[in-house]
Subunit: 311 residues, 2 copies
Amino acid sequence: MNIPKSITICEVGLRDGLQNEKTMLQTADKIELAKMIIDSGIKVIELGSFVSPKAVPVMADTAEIFRTLGEIPGVELRAFTPNKRGVETAISCGCKKAKLNVSASRAHNIANLNKTPEESVAGFKEAVDLALENGITVSGSISMPFGSPWEHAIPLDDVRRIIDAYLAVGVDEISLSDASGMAVPGQVNMIAATVQKEYPNVSWWLHAHNTRGTAIANIIAAMDAGFTHFDASFAGLGGCPFVPNAAGNVATEDVVHMFTEMGVDTGIDLDKVIATAKRARELVGHDSDSYILRAGASKDLNLPLPEKKVK
Amino acid sequence: MNIPKSITICEVGLRDGLQNEKTMLQTADKIELAKMIIDSGIKVIELGSFVSPKAVPVMADTAEIFRTLGEIPGVELRAFTPNKRGVETAISCGCKKAKLNVSASRAHNIANLNKTPEESVAGFKEAVDLALENGITVSGSISMPFGSPWEHAIPLDDVRRIIDAYLAVGVDEISLSDASGMAVPGQVNMIAATVQKEYPNVSWWLHAHNTRGTAIANIIAAMDAGFTHFDASFAGLGGCPFVPNAAGNVATEDVVHMFTEMGVDTGIDLDKVIATAKRARELVGHDSDSYILRAGASKDLNLPLPEKKVK
């Protein structure tokens, strides 16, 4: 098993986590969480989305959050930015990292948008150009490359076509997102190894959902293949778009705990990550799928030995 | 990543799962579950314990369950058997596989029993001899070789001493049990690879608890190192002796689902395993930590595509 010296976590709770919540957090609460995340040592944070406030009201304050936080040296604050209008908002509020997304499901993309996934990516060109001209770097996500609820298996050649399309529009940071929670470790290991070999100049991320319990194993499988960049969400907030009440994104504190116990440098303070997750859970007002919030960190186990019996 | 053609699951729900429950199941219910487990294709099943009925009342009917089921060709029915008296009960009811256990925590074993772990194992000799003379094979478990709540880190040399002690009394099937839920994948991979290399004639098992969310990743890490035998518990029943309300054993249906999706032969019918887990959950009368019972199997996702839009 290949174990890297260090890994990088992107905290996606403020976007992917909160987007799934019924309770809409106050902007001040989101800013409090963002500051806690930054203080914990996390260097990549997805703050929100530049999408229609009518379609996704919970993300309507994303630009305000960017303006309030300003630039933070050494920290990448990113936003989901689906189109050129989103990039314009990013420019206006000082966001320096935009994230695009396309579904790897040809059937769904064609039925929904009348375009193949690679045609959708080609259509991002104007948005990407505008971003790059304005000093905004761009990351592209591929949703469901490990399986979709429509076709189930996604041919690897379909994924390759999307990667090629991203590279053609100038995006060389790509995230594989298991939004349907169908990925299993053997497959993740094979795909992660393949794309790294075939596209050595791409920066790869894995976005793992724990819908069917395999998120942490999928992270380990991707790590073994050489991936070192992983999304995670505080308290495990989030969900699965296809399964009501399913578990959400893998919990940041569970991932940080595991890597810390493995001796892999995350640059992140576990206690502070746990405090952030507790605060996030308090703000959304319900329990969530986090093992470490439930069991505590291994390092904090401190049991007394039984009194010594005499033979 | 090394992926085997097939793996073997031992269903421990009737022992490790039910032992942690407040509701005591009727013997008839346990027999119903055992028959469902057998019918699902699981070939190794831990039916209960031969321990003092006063100390563990929920296991008092283990011998009766063995007698009712009788011998089933191709299926190994085992019981936790802590001592010679337990082996005598095993002989009396037709149990053909006994499981011993020792803690890898020297500090705890000495404080609790005034013996080192290897002295405890040496003390099993009479029980093992009696078992072997009566055609009962014996498996030895090492509890907490990945970390204990007292010392935290367990030196690998301490684990080696226990393995040597088991071999010395004639036990060559050994299970590494993460009862404290402290194991992480890098460590599991290293220890699994080491013990297999140093003790090539031992049959190795991993007993994973999901206390801190790493059980499935630990199974994958052990698999990568060559392990192919894994314990699991229906519906994820069980718990952690050191953390009240923590998640329990890894859920059988989650493990079978993952391996099935990975193309690894388990010999087990996933739908029947899910049915067993649902029935177990119904009998204990509460929800449990099972991803597949919550989200459903990937293969059963069958969403309609959106109606095709015209450009």
